[in-house]
């Protein structure tokens, strides 16, 4: 910060000396403008995030929460994880923003301005769980490549927008439509304009669900830039990469969308289970759809010490992709015995559910409180890592916190 001021105050002539390079059009730089190369980005300030959030990567920006930050029923922006594949778009002109519907399976190509979208279609608000497909990747052995998310790439904010279904019906889609794919305004890391950082999508059945939104608000306000301002596709319960940010085009496809990170091995797991470390051919990998059952203890923070004889109140959230949670249990003896938590119904479909429990401990010492959720199909979280996969997706192993009774 000081360096920046120093450089500024010594003027351009010295700037040339210090940087050891010439600034073409240096004389035309407006006053008080800081050159991009001299900005040290403070991501917490830039994205309005809490300082306890953890930056995994600054180019592209990737940031996750820690468990106790996710205690709110509705995740506020300051605790919402960031997963970017490319560079955040610059100079967005919201007045000129539009979204085009094209592809093999639209009856006619159609474009709506953002204003038209907002005025033509009914608005809906849902609380939708978004979790990165790679959340929990850091635990896989052998390790999987990519951002090493621990547990914090999940959040459940309230999203307001129009139903994608309503817009697709207005556009008119053909009977052979199987998939939609989004396109967006973010830039590829290499700044190659012919490359898209990410262009994923969902089957037409998911696109036509009531809760699949073209959202323009998060938690009642304009969506923060880093989360997709001014328009984001939100597909709750599916890998968050299907919820495209900065969306300006949606292609209705007569094939499974083949955009960036749809082909190859991204966001795919082996169709049949494999041994840890086994090589899997691309054609043997299947696209991840609904996310698996999972839960987080968000209170207390791991490391709590309480006096003997006192009860420990715990609480947290559980979610299961397209499904509902039917039960959350906890164990203080590494799974030997389980007790039930009280569980709330979701505020709407695809929203996480809140659980709590009051725990007594038999004697002093070190404990771990493990939480285990079960979905409406009777499937529970594993205590160990689930099936290994080459890209390290879908780790839904039980969350646990350390507790000491003294």
């Amino acid at each position: 910060m000081k360096r920046r001021n120093f450089v500024k105050k010594t003027g351009l002539g010295s700037l040339v000396g210090i940087l050891g390079l010439d600034i073409v059009y240096g004389a035309k730089i407006p006053e008080n403008y800081t050159l991009l190369g001299l900005q040290d980005p403070d991501p917490f300030q830039m994205f309005d995030k809490d300082k306890e959030m953890v930056v995994l990567n600054s180019k592209p920006w990737n940031m996750e929460a820690v468990a106790h930050l996710l205690d709110d029923r509705i995740t506020p922006n300051k605790y919402m994880f960031i997963r970017n594949n490319g560079l955040v778009p610059e100079n967005i002109d919201v007045k000129k923003w539009s979204i085009t519907f094209d592809g093999e399976s639209v009856k006619e190509k159609k474009t709506f301005t953002l204003e038209e979208l907002k005025s033509k279609f009914a608005h809906h608000t849902y609380q939708l769980t978004l979790e990165c497909g790679g959340n929990g990747r850091s635990e896989f052995d052998p390790p999987a490549k990519g951002n090493q998310w621990t547990i914090g790439a999940v959040g459940c904010a309230s999203w307001t927008g129009v139903s994608l279904k309503d817009v697709l019906n207005e556009v008119g889609i053909k009977d052979d439509a199987v998939y939609i794919g989004y396109h967006a305004a973010d830039q590829h890391l290499s700044r190659d304009p012919n490359k898209e950082p990410i262009s994923r999508g969902v089957p037409i059945s998911k696109a036509m669900m009531d809760e699949t939104l073209l959202a323009f608000k998060m938690n009642g306000e304009d969506i923060p830039l880093v989360h997709g301002y001014p328009l984001r596709l939100v597909c709750g319960g599916w890998p968050a990469s299907t919820s495209g940010k900065w969306v300006n085009r949606i292609s209705v496809r007569n094939i499974v969308h083949d955009g960036e990170k749809m082909t190859g091995s991204s966001y795919k797991v082996p169709c049949n289970p494999v041994a840890p470390g086994e090589e899997v051919k691309n054609e043997d990998m299947c696209i991840i759809e609904s996310m698996p059952v999972k839960s987080l203890i968000t209170y207390p923070k791991s490391g709590a010490m309480i006096p003997k004889g006192k009860k420990l109140n715990i609480r947290g959230h559980a979610w299961a992709g397209e499904l509902e949670i039917s039960r959350v249990s906890y164990s203080i003896d590494f799974g030997a015995t389980w007790s039930e938590c009280s569980l709330e119904k979701p505020v709407n479909r695809l929203a996480w559910q809140h659980f709590k429990a009051s725990i007594s401990f038999p004697k002093s010492g070190y404990y771990e409180v493990w939480a285990r959720a079960t979905d409406s199909n009777g499937v529970s979280q594993p205590m160990l890592l689930p099936g290994w996969n080459p890209k390290g997706y879908l780790n839904n192993a039980c969350h646990r916190i350390a507790v000491k009774i003294s």
Binding site: T10, D141, L312
Partner: protein, 159 residues
């Protein structure tokens, strides 16, 4: 114009450039000394650093290494460090590399993937240097099927 005049003129203009350059070097030097003695001279009063991130002064030493860490990127110091910095931090940050642990085969596979899909250039002879640096400094670590909880920060809980 005689040859001598011409020569004199050239010397004069050269002398002029020399004086200006010298003055500039002197000015930067003086400002630099003042800055080193009291950096706050050049910063506005409002500008209180509120970042916990260590602010490395690249003017001092752009590629400074402290306790075996290349401060600017966070990479471990080792053979091939600068080759890695120069080839692997143009598109993505060093953090993406540092978080990952792979064996030789998988680092090479990752490089191939970046070359095929992400516009990474042909690394030529540098590829060997880079892969060797990565395998040496960021090898895979066995974690088993579930690791023990570590780095627990204990605190008394009031409730």
């Amino acid at each position: 114009m005689s040859k001598q005049d011409n020569f004199r003129k050239q010397v004069k203009s050269f002398y002029g450039i020399l004086v200006i350059s010298f003055a500039m070097v002197l000015l930067i030097g003086v400002l630099g000394v003042i800055y080193m003695m009291d950096p706050s001279v050049f910063s506005s009063k409002k500008d209180t650093p509120n970042s916990e991130v260590v602010d490395v002064d690249p003017d001092e030493d752009w590629d400074k290494i402290e306790n075996g860490i290349h401060l600017r990127t966070g990479f471990k110091d080792g053979e091939g460090l600068m080759t890695v910095v120069n080839n692997c931090t143009n598109c993505h940050s060093a953090q993406l590399v540092i978080q990952n642990r792979m064996n030789e085969e998988r680092w090479i596979e990752t490089i191939r993937w970046m070359q095929k899909t992400q516009n990474l250039w042909d690394l030529g002879d540098n590829e060997k240097v880079i892969v060797n640096y990565l395998v040496t400094n960021y090898p895979p670590k066995s974690k088993g099927r579930r690791e023990a909880l570590t780095n627990i920060e204990w605190y008394p809980l009031e409730q």
